[in-house]
């Protein structure tokens, strides 16, 4: 029970990072972006590549950080991966979404995002192979935090959780205390008014892709670090991330952060009563439950 709860929190932090970016994009551009989770995959593979590059360039970077399996090379790679993934998100917008948008096809954007997701997912598969990869071949043993009840946690998991929380705290400080943060919230609430208040919407769209892409890359690496990397990583995380945005209410950044933890915990606790084969379906049950009980989400504004 407690083990499931802790595992849920760990997965939840990864979902939160994905959901925050997704909810911002969905709210600003008004479409369900089915390609968002592929940014996690791009981030995970990108870090894999640069991890290798750094180790080859300067072998001491291959040393692990403290008790983790994480190397210094991978730590650097996380930052690079966040940058490159953000750039990819902007590029995808320029190549596809912006052009579909300018044709007035708001509804077609959903189709386009599915198409983009399929292309990214399968191109990654063609580039890196369909089999799973790991950042480190070393086996890191879980630490026994408690014997009764038994609670096992890997150091990498703790690192991912702390890093994810740190990223969320930074984002919170930006949103709550900088005029850039106010502008982000203003655009989320009322794009027209924010425009007449002097905010350049096209620039905001780019900034939102940067945030969304950066957070997704971090989430992808943390997932790869605590699980494994494979081309269907994005596909498998897509529904839980969507569920997190719906739990929080589409457009609510804080809601998405909480939603990620809730979905992570609920999915893990569900394993207590359901066979593990059913876990991919659990996010859908959560979506249904939210839509029945409180369709606007638990943190969102009263707006349908």
């Amino acid at each position: 029970m407690i083990q499931h709860l802790v595992d849920g929190i760990l997965v939840g932090s990864i979902l939160s990072l994905g959901a925050i970016g997704l909810t911002m994009v969905m709210h600003m551009l008004r479409f369900a972006n089915f390609s968002h989770a592929e940014l996690l995959s791009i981030g995970a593979y990108c870090a894999l590549v640069f991890d290798g590059v750094f180790k080859a360039l300067y072998p001491p970077l291959g040393n692990v950080v403290g008790p983790l399996s994480l190397t210094w090379a991978l730590t650097l790679s996380i930052l690079i991966s966040m940058t490159i993934t953000a750039a990819s998100a902007i590029l995808i917008d320029l190549l596809v979404f912006k052009r579909v948008r300018s044709k007035g096809g708001e509804l077609s954007m959903v189709f386009a995002s599915f198409g983009v997701a399929m292309i990214i997912r399968n191109v990654l598969g063609l580039m890196f192979g369909l089999q799973a990869k790991l950042y480190s071949q070393d086996i890191v043993f879980a630490v026994v935090l408690s014997h009764d009840p038994l609670l096992l946690v890997k150091p990498d998991q703790i690192f991912s959780l702390v890093a994810a929380l740190l990223i969320m705290v930074i984002l919170h400080l930006v949103l709550a205390h900088t005029t850039f943060g106010y502008a982000l919230r203003a655009v989320a609430e009322n794009p027209n008014l924010s425009q007449v208040s002097g905010i350049n919407l096209n620039r905001m769209i780019i900034l939102i892709w940067i945030i969304g892409g950066g957070l997704a890359a971090a989430a992808g690496v943390f997932y790869g670090l605590t699980n494994q990397i494979n081309p269907v990583l994005g596909r498998d995380l897509l529904l839980p991330i969507f569920a997190a945005t719906i739990v929080g209410g589409i457009g609510s950044i804080y809601g998405a952060a909480m939603g990620g933890f809730l979905v992570g915990i609920a999915s893990n606790l569900a394993l207590l009563i359901l066979p593990s084969g059913y876990s991919p379906a659990v996010p859908f049950l959560i979506i249904l439950a939210v839509l029945i009980v409180r369709p606007t989400g638990f943190f969102g504004e009263e707006r349908a």
Binding site: V100, V110, I119
Partner: protein, 315 residues
């Protein structure tokens, strides 16, 4: 020669069945602007229910009610409709992205349930024990397949005519009105959510019919038949054919199915052995490119205008 003809019969049957599903999607997307991210779930509900209701008793799982075939097929359609009603009633009052996410979720959950619930539909092994109708008289050979093709084509034509009448009826005009201007439609005292729900359910029932026919044709259905790729294929058919244009949708279905089959055959035949594992990935990239490319460069589809004009000329 016979081999070629029987292959053509096989190909046309599958393409015609998929055309029916595309027509259902066209009512939802093309005529009503409703995004269905889980076409395969409604298709699958029709397929599984038809086989469960019409099949012979099996020890391992539910089913074997040996219902009269048309009733089993109708049962499949009802199952798809009920599923659509539940999803629709929860999401159609909300912003359109909720429907997109919920339908996508339904498809994931449906495939997951079918794969895991052995007691229900045989799990990963699939659903067996279905005898094709009139099989005792017609055997399994070419005659059966040719007659089944005619049956499917009749249903395709019937579905087409039904939908044409539907969109020219007052209900169809309402659908268009809501699509164009929801607020205006509401001010006329119409409830847009209810009308959209009706369109969504009818479209899904048609997808259920397609699923039922598909399962009947193979006398078998398994989770491998209800993977998300089928949803993408059906979308590509509609987008290529031109959303809102029923004849274009059917043409798109045949075109995409031909391209899919041919690319699969070509890749398995000519791709180097070490790439064989990746032919699926290549095909998926291609279908993704078709969807994105059409939206960017030809959002009206390959067969637009002329047919649309002739439709509106009949008013």
């Amino acid at each position: 020669m016979i081999g070629l003809i029987s292959y053509l019969v096989f190909f046309t049957t599958v393409a015609a069945i998929l055309s029916i599903a595309v027509l259902g999607l066209n009512l939802q997307w093309g005529n009503s602007g409703l995004f269905n991210g889980g076409v395969v779930a409604f298709f699958g509900a029709g397929a599984y229910t038809t086989l469960i209701l019409g099949g012979t008793p099996q020890e391992a799982h539910l089913g074997g009610y040996q219902l009269f075939y048309p009733l089993a097929l109708a049962g499949g359609m009802v199952a798809a409709g009920v599923m659509a009603w539940v999803v629709g009633i929860l999401t159609l009052r909300l912003r359109h992205d909720y429907l997109a996410i919920a339908t996508f979720g339904v498809a994931v959950a449906f495939e997951n349930l079918m794969r895991n619930a052995e007691w229900l539909a045989g799990g990963a092994q699939g659903l067996r024990g279905f005898e094709r109708p009139l099989h005792a008289w017609l055997g399994d050979g070419f005659t059966y397949n040719a007659l089944f093709l005619i049956f499917v084509l009749l249903l395709l034509i019937g579905t087409y005519l039904f939908l044409q009448r539907l969109i020219l009826s007052p209900f169809g005009r309402l659908l268009r009105a809501i699509r164009e201007d929801e607020i205006a439609a509401r001010s006329l005292g119409k409830n847009p959510a209810r009308i959209r729900l009706t369109a969504f359910v009818i479209g899904s029932v048609i997808m259920g019919l397609a699923g039922g026919l598909y399962a009947t044709f193979y006398a078998f259905i398994s989770p491998q038949d209800v993977l998300p790729i089928l949803t993408f294929q059906i979308w590509a058919m509609l987008i290529v054919g031109g959303a809102g244009n029923a004849r274009g949708a059917v043409a798109g279905a045949f075109l995409i199915w031909a391209a899919w089959t041919a690319s699969g055959w070509g890749l398995s035949r000519f791709a180097p052995v070490d790439l064989q594992l990746y032919t699926g990935s290549i095909q998926f990239v291609l279908i993704g490119l078709v969807i994105v490319g059409m939206l960017l460069w030809r959002p009206q589809g390959l067969f637009p205008e002329k047919l649309v004009v002739s439709q509106s000329g009949r008013h």
